[in-house]
């Protein structure tokens, strides 16, 4: 889908991150889950129409703490990528994740989400099955859970398709991950009528972990220095300390903290009434 001649254009930092986040060799949700958690049992299906391949989810132990784990999965080869729908989640995937999250709420388990998607699946069946409603419902319900919700953007955080797993008490990004309202290509194609402007637009859109941390949109950046085991170790450490922090809070405090986190984005704008 990358339709850009890299030689022709100035390579900027943001665009480098976009390319890193999309690298086919990059670590995926499943390998991280298997490294951090044990006794991981995958659970399947949305109890409606199917089992979305792009969503891996289930129950697991983090040391001796039960957790619900959900992740968007891509592959490391073209055939794997195709199998996992390139990480593009269908409505049944969002509903599967919601089912697992409700289950976590029932049993008081923290929810850990791994985000890695270019965006929600764009297709005829996805629209027939209510893609917009499925994403909206996740946002609505995730706001209300009284268990801790944590989201880790490990690669691509593509728009509403990512946010549908990203309404969390703590949002973390890997150093080379990106998070954006629109893909740089789509934005360039709409605003400049030229998708080759994507590298420049990537800079304008402010998609890097550093920029988003400065804006206060995300809470923490995890360094990608060292080998993958070191990186996964840092992710685990970050999850452990967040769960420790949340263990001091009441369920309603956890919920209110999450709602307030989003409520305050833009609330400094002044309005007047007649």
């Amino acid at each position: 889908m990358i339709n850009v001649d890299i030689e022709e254009i100035k390579i900027n930092n943001a665009w480098n991150k976009v390319l890193s986040a999309r690298k086919i060799t990059r670590f995926r949700s499943l390998v991280i889950m298997n490294s951090i958690f044990h006794s991981f049992l995958q659970l399947h299906g949305d109890r409606g129409i199917g089992d979305d391949k792009s969503i891996i989810g289930g129950i697991a132990l983090l040391d001796n703490q039960a957790v619900t784990v959900i992740g968007q999965q891509k592959g490391n080869s073209p055939s794997e990528m195709e199998y996992y729908q390139y990480g593009m989640t269908k409505p049944e995937g969002y509903r599967k994740s919601l089912r697992l999250m409700r289950q976590a709420e029932k049993f008081g388990r923290p929810i850990i989400c791994f985000i890695d998607t270019p965006g929600a699946f764009p297709g005829v069946s996805a629209e027939e099955n209510g893609q917009a409603e499925a994403i909206a419902r996740n946002l609505y319900e995730m706001a209300n859970f009284t268990v801790p919700v944590m989201s880790i953007i490990i690669g691509e955080g593509g728009s509403g398709g990512a946010l549908a797993l990203g309404v969390a008490n703590k949002v973390i990004m890997l150093e080379n991950a990106i998070y954006s309202v629109v893909s740089p290509e789509a934005c360039a194609s709409i605003l400049c009528k030229d998708s080759r402007k994507a590298p420049d637009i990537a800079g304008d859109l402010k998609v890097t972990a550093n920029e988003l941390k400065n804006y206060g949109i995300i809470d923490e950046i995890i360094s990608e220095e060292g080998d993958v085991q070191e990186i996964f170790g840092r992710i685990k450490q970050s999850i452990v300390s967040e769960l420790l922090r949340c263990s001091q809070l009441e369920g309603c405090e956890i919920r209110n903290e999450r709602i307030e986190k989003y409520r305050c984005i833009g609330n400094e704008i002044e309005f007047f009434n007649k």
């Binding site: 209510g130 909206a136 728009s159 309202v181 988003l212 949109i217």
Partner: protein, 268 residues
């Protein structure tokens, strides 16, 4: 032909007398196409006369990621139309019943949602909760506003949480999907109504048609992403003709009104 007395339907090209077009709720008498309404026409059709009071009127232009060209675009729009954002909100009565109302207007950047729209929608629900009123929200939007980057995306979470809080407090939210309701607006507050109505023939969906055609190489059905398509798949409660909308909304409000819910004594 006099410019003042006639209009041309953008879909079928039929020349219609302006007065008749207005009397027909800006629906083409020939092909039935619905003209997208600006907020003033929508207000006039829905609210009881002279009852609307605007709330949370916005003052300053907000450019959170200092996106190139954004302020120029804003300035060029505000110099030609009578609004400075993609939604107006307020309070008034419909069929004699007090409501909080929001009307999105596509003349401002395709009705897209940035921080100001997200904030106004959020406050609409918060105000409604404070005043114990229902929310009637006319959606019309291309989605999240690219020029505000991640801040626009966050408005989806913020507005969905606002609907959620309002709903848990027992508030009634009627969402009316009009042409177009797509992207980040359809995937947040638009599809979270207790009752979801739509005007006939509106474009409603998540992904853009071109994106679907290009990435998936699928042939799109004829009525793809229309009100009728979504109705068929069970995502809309009712498709309501424009001339019936006020009556239907009034009826829903009446059924939810206090006197119809608190005074009821079951017959044993």
């Amino acid at each position: 032909m006099s410019q003042k007395l006639f209009v041309k339907c953008k879909t079928c090209g039929t020349i219609i007398e302006k007065k008749k077009f207005k009397e027909n709720y800006y629906v083409c008498s020939s092909c039935g196409n619905y003209k997208t309404l600006d907020y003033k026409r929508r207000l006039a059709m829905i609210m009881d006369k002279d009852t609307f009071r605007e709330t949370n009127m916005h003052t300053d232009f907000y450019n959170p990621i200092e996106f190139p060209g954004y302020i120029e675009k804003h300035n060029s729009i505000v110099s030609t139309v009578d609004l400075d954002e993609a939604i107006i909100t307020g309070r008034g009565t419909i069929g004699g019943q007090n409501v909080m109302i929001g009307i999105m207007d596509t003349r401002y950047m395709m009705g897209s949602m940035g921080v100001v729209v997200g904030e106004k929608v959020t406050r609409l629900f918060e105000d409604a909760q404070n005043y114990k009123l229902s929310v009637v929200l006319f959606c019309a939007s291309g989605g999240a506003r690219m020029q505000e980057g991640i801040f626009s995306l966050m408005q989806m979470a913020k507005t969905a949480a606002a609907v959620s809080k309002f709903s848990q407090a027992g508030g009634l939210y009627i969402s009316i999907l009009t042409n177009p309701t797509t992207g980040g607006v359809s995937a947040s507050f638009a599809f979270l109504g207790d009752i979801i109505l739509a005007e006939p023939g509106a474009l409603i969906g998540f992904a853009g048609k071109r994106v679907i055609e290009q990435t998936i190489k699928e042939k799109l059905p004829n009525n793809f992403q229309t009100s009728e398509f979504l109705f068929e798949y069970g995502y809309i409660d009712l498709i309501v003709e424009r001339k019936q909308l006020k009556e239907v909304i009034s009826k829903i409000l009446a059924i939810h009104s206090q006197e119809n819910n608190l005074t009821y004594k079951p017959i044993i």
